[in-house]
Symmetry: D2
Subunit: 291 residues, 4 copies
C-alpha cells in the first residue's frame, strides 16, 4: 500500500504535537497546572510508582494540566522516544510560555534535602517573572515536620505484610544524605519505635548506616528482617544497594550476619496511602493559598 504525502505530513504533525508538546495555538491554554517533580529513574519497572502517582494526582485535581519534571540531569532525555523528560526549569518555562498562570509542584522526595531545596529555589525564581507564572507553589516532601513523621511512621508500619510476626524486624532503608536534613531519619526512627519496637530505619549514606542498624537488630535478638526501601521508587538503589546479589547489599550483609531476609521490593509511590500523604500536602497548599 502506498503511503501518500498527505498521510505522512499528517503523521509528522501528529508526532510533532506529541513530542514538542502540542503548540500553544493548538489547544486552549491550561491556566493551572500540577508539576510532579521526581528524581527520575532509569529502571523501567520502577515507573509503576510514577504512573500510580500521576493517576492519583489527575483524580485529585481533575481540572488541571499535569506535567512531569526530573531532577536527575543524567536522566533527562532518556524518557521514551516520544516523551523526552524535561528538567524542572524546562517544564516551568514551557508552562509559562503556554500561558499557564499558576503551578503547584508536587515533589516526590522523601526528605527536604539538597534536591528539595534546589527545587524550592527554582520554584521561587520562576514566580512572578515577566510574562511568566504568577504563582509557583511547592508542596512539602513526604517527611516535613513532626506531624508528617507521626503519620508516615504509622503508614510504614501498616505497609508491612500481615504475615510478618511481631518478633521479626522490619527495616526501612532510605538513600540518606550528608545534608542537614539527615536528621529526619533518626527522628523517624524515634516515631517508629513509639509504634513498634522492632521497626528500624537505615540509610545507604549518612548516619544510620548498616553497622549502626545491625547493632540495634542484634541487641534485640532479631532473627528475621523484612527489608523495604524507604524510597519513592524501587529503582536502582533498591535493586542494588538493598537487594543486590553483591556482598555489599544490605540483604547479603544481613544474611551474612545470620539473619533471614524477606524483601518488600515496592517503592512508596506504589502504595495508595503514601501517595495520599503526598497529595495531602498539595491539597493543603491549595486550600490555604500558601506558597
Amino acid at each position: 500500500m502506498r503511503r501518500s504525502w498527505a498521510t505522512f505530513a499528517a503523521t509528522l504533525f501528529f508526532l510533532c504535537a506529541v513530542c514538542c508538546g502540542a503548540s500553544p495555538a493548538a489547544q486552549p491554554p491550561a491556566k493551572e497546572a500540577v508539576l510532579i517533580v521526581a528524581f527520575g529513574t532509569s529502571v523501567e519497572k520502577a515507573r509503576v510508582s510514577y504512573a500510580n502517582v500521576e493517576r492519583q494526582v489527575k483524580k485529585a485535581f481533575p481540572g488541571r494540566e499535569v506535567r512531569w519534571a526530573w531532577t536527575a540531569n543524567s536522566l533527562l532525555g532518556t524518557g521514551s522516544k516520544n516523551r523526552p523528560m524535561l528538567s524542572t526549569q524546562e517544564a516551568l518555562a514551557k508552562l509559562a510560555a503556554e500561558g499557564t498562570k499558576e503551578v503547584s509542584i508536587l515533589s516526590l522526595h522523601i526528605i527536604p534535602g539538597a534536591e528539595y531545596n534546589d527545587l524550592s529555589r527554582t520554584a521561587a525564581a520562576f514566580e512572578g517573572l515577566p510574562k511568566g507564572l504568577r504563582r509557583v507553589r511547592l508542596a512539602p516532601p513526604l517527611l516535613y515536620g513532626t506531624d508528617s513523621l507521626r503519620s508516615v511512621s504509622r503508614l510504614l508500619v501498616q505497609s508491612v505484610p500481615a504475615e510478618r510476626k511481631r518478633d521479626e524486624a522490619v527495616l526501612f532503608v532510605g538513600h540518606g544524605t550528608h545534608h542537614a536534613s539527615g536528621v529526619y531519619y533518626p527522628a523517624l526512627q524515634y516515631y517508629l519505635h513509639r509504634l513498634d519496637g522492632n521497626a528500624f530505619v537505615g540509610t545507604v549514606e549518612g548516619d544510620l548506616d548498616f553497622e549502626v542498624v545491625l547493632k540495634s537488630l542484634q541487641a534485640g535478638g532479631v532473627r528475621k528482617v523484612w527489608l523495604a526501601p524507604l524510597m519513592t521508587v524501587a529503582g536502582d538503589h533498591a535493586a542494588n544497594d538493598l537487594f543486590g546479589a553483591g556482598a555489599e547489599s544490605w540483604r547479603q550483609r544481613l544474611i551474612a550476619s545470620g539473619m533471614q531476609v524477606q524483601a518488600i521490593a515496592r517503592g512508596l509511590g506504589e502504595y495508595p496511602a503514601f501517595v495520599a500523604q503526598w497529595l495531602d500536602g498539595l491539597k493543603k497548599l491549595s486550600d490555604r493559598g500558601e506558597r
Copy 2:
C-alpha cells in the same frame, strides 16, 4: 510498499531530534552560548535583519552555540515547523538542561524599555539556579547611556542614502514607549541635531509624536522627508505605521501636509554598522567579565 516498523521508528527518531531540538545526549554540550533575544516578527521578509544578526554573531563568537528567543508571546510557536520559537525562559532552561554554563544575551532592543527590563529580570532569575546556568549576562540595547547616543546618532546620519540633499529632512521613527526610558528619544534628537540640523526623531507612541515632529519640520521649511524606521526589523510597524497606504501612516500624513516622502524601508538589523554597535556591547561584556 510496506514500511517496516524499524524504518518508521528511525523516522520518528529523526523527527523528534529535529523538532525537539537534538537531545542532549546526541551532541557534546556547548558550554558557552549567545542567546539573541528579539521581539520577534511575523513578517517573513523582515527576518532578513535577524538572519544578518545571527551571521555576524556567529562570526564574532565562533566557539559559541548561538540560539534565539522571542519576547512577543503572541508569536511563539509561529516559527517554521522544525524550529518553533522559544520564549526567553524556555531558551535559557533548555541551554541549562543541555549543560551550558554561561550565556551572554544579546538584546535586539533599541532602548532599555519595558521589554528590556523584563529581559533583565529574567536573566537575573536564571543566574545561579541549582543545576543551571552559572552566569547569565545581558548586553545593553542599542541605546544605553550618552556614549551610545553619540555613536548611534552618527551611524543614523551615515545610514542615509547619499542622494539625500542637506535641505531635505531625514526622519527616524521608533516604536516609542510610555516607560521612563522614553527619554532616550528626545536625548537622541539632541545628539542628532548636533550632527545634522535636518535630522529628526519621531515615535509611534509617546512624546515625539507626529504633531510635534511635523511642527519642527514645518518650522524648518522642509519640503522633502527621507523616512526611516528606528527599529530593529522593518516589520509590522514599519509596514503599517510608517509606510502604510492608510491615511494614518506617517508617510500619508507627511504627504497630506504637503511634503514629498522617500521611504528607507530597512530595519537597523540589516546594516552591518548597527549590528556591530550591538555586538560591541556584547564584546565589552565578555572582555570585562561584567554582568
Copy 3:
C-alpha cells in the same frame, strides 16, 4: 553650687533620649513614615533647602512620622550633636524596630542615577524582612520619564528672575554622571529648547560639559548668562564648580569667554514649585498603592 546625682541622672536620661532617638517604649510607634533621602551637604547654609522640603512633606502628610537619611557616607555623623545623620539602612532599620510598617521614601535626587539605583536596591532589600517593614516604596527622582522632563523644563524656565531678557541665556548646571542616566541631561535640553531657545543645560561631569555648552552659547551670540545650579541644594558643587572664584569655575570661564554672568545661587529644594514636583511623585505612589 552642687549638682546632685539625681539632677545629673535626669540630664543623662534626657540626653540619651535625644541622642539615641526616643526609645520605642517612650512613644506610641508611628505606623507609617516618610523617609527623606538626600545626598547630604556639609554647607550649613545649603540646609535651607532641606528644611524647606521637610516642612512641605510634613504639611502634605500630616499623619506620618518624617525622618531623614543621607547617602553620602563621608557626611554621616556630621549632623548637629543631638541629631546625628543616619544612613538609609540605619534609618529603615530604626523605623522597623520602632514598629513602623510602611515607609515611603522621598528621594531628593535629580536623576535616576547611581545614587538613586542604590537607594532602590536598599529599599527593595528592606521590604518584607522578618519583623520588619511590610512595605517600602520609593518615589521617583525629580526627573523620571518624559512627563517629568516636560514639567520640570517648564518649572526651570519659570524659576528664572523676571528681569532676565529673552536674548540673555539661562544655563542650568547639574552634577552630571557617567551612569547611563546621563541621558536625562540632553533629553532635558531638548525640552528646554522647545520652551526657550536660550535655555541651556550643562553638567560638571559627563557629556554636556563646558566646551559643549560654550559652543552653543557662542553660536547663539549670547552676551549674558544667568547661571543656576540644577541641584537640590546650593552646596559644595554650586559654591565651587559653578560660582567659585577659581579660574576653573563655570562663572569664571564664562567671564573669560567674554560673557557677563548673573548667579542664581539657590538649590531647587528652595523653590516651592520643585518641592511640589517631588512631592507629586510621592503622592501618586500613595494614591496608586504602587511601589
Copy 4:
C-alpha cells in the same frame, strides 16, 4: 563648686559617644565584626550566659569588633540605659555605616527554627547592599544536621552532675516549636538514647510534651529526674515552665506524678563546652569562607 561649660560639653560628648555608639569619626572603623544574635532575656540573672558567650567570642576572634542584637522585639530598648539593645537589622545597618565590610553572625538559637530562618533571611538581605556589608555569614544554631546531634547529645550527657545515678533519669526540656524544625527534638532523643537509656528530651510546645515524656519515664520505672533546660539561657521559660511553683510547671507535674526532681538551673550558654560547640560553627564558617 562651679561646673564650667567646657566640662559639661565634654561630658555631653562622652555620653553621646557611649549612648549612640561612638561616632564613626571617633575611632578607626572595625572592618570585620562578629554579631551575636540571641532571643534576649528580661531576667537579669540569665545574662550570665550571654556575658560568658561574649567573653569566649572575644577570646576566639581577638581582632574583631563584637556586637549584640536581640530578636525579641518586645525586649528591644530594655537594655541598661547606656546600651540599648539593637534589633538585628539595626546592628547590621550600624556596622555597615561605620565601614565594617564583613560580619559573621553567631546565632545563639538551639534549632534552625522560625527565629533562625528569619535571621537567615535578614542576613541574606544585608549582604551586598550598596555602601553596605560585602559579606554577611551566618553560623549554624547549636543543632544543625546529624553531626551536631551526635556531639551535642554527648555534651548533654556530660553536663549532668556526677552525683546523678544511672537509674535516675535526666530530662532536657527545650522551648519546642510548631515549625518543621521541631524534628530536631525527636532526633536528639534518638541520639541521647544511644548514649544513655535514661536521658530524655521534652519540649514546652510541640510534640515531645509532658504526657509523652511522662509515659517514657514511667515505662522505665523512673523515681528521680534531673531536670535541665535545653535553652541558651535559664530565663523566663526555665524559671516558669520548668521550675515554677505553679502546678503547671514540669517540676510540679513530675512531683505530682510521684517523682523526685533535682533542678539543674543553668542555661547552655553557661557551659564552656556548649559555647565551644557554637563557636565551632563560627570558626568553620571563617575557615571555609562559606556563607
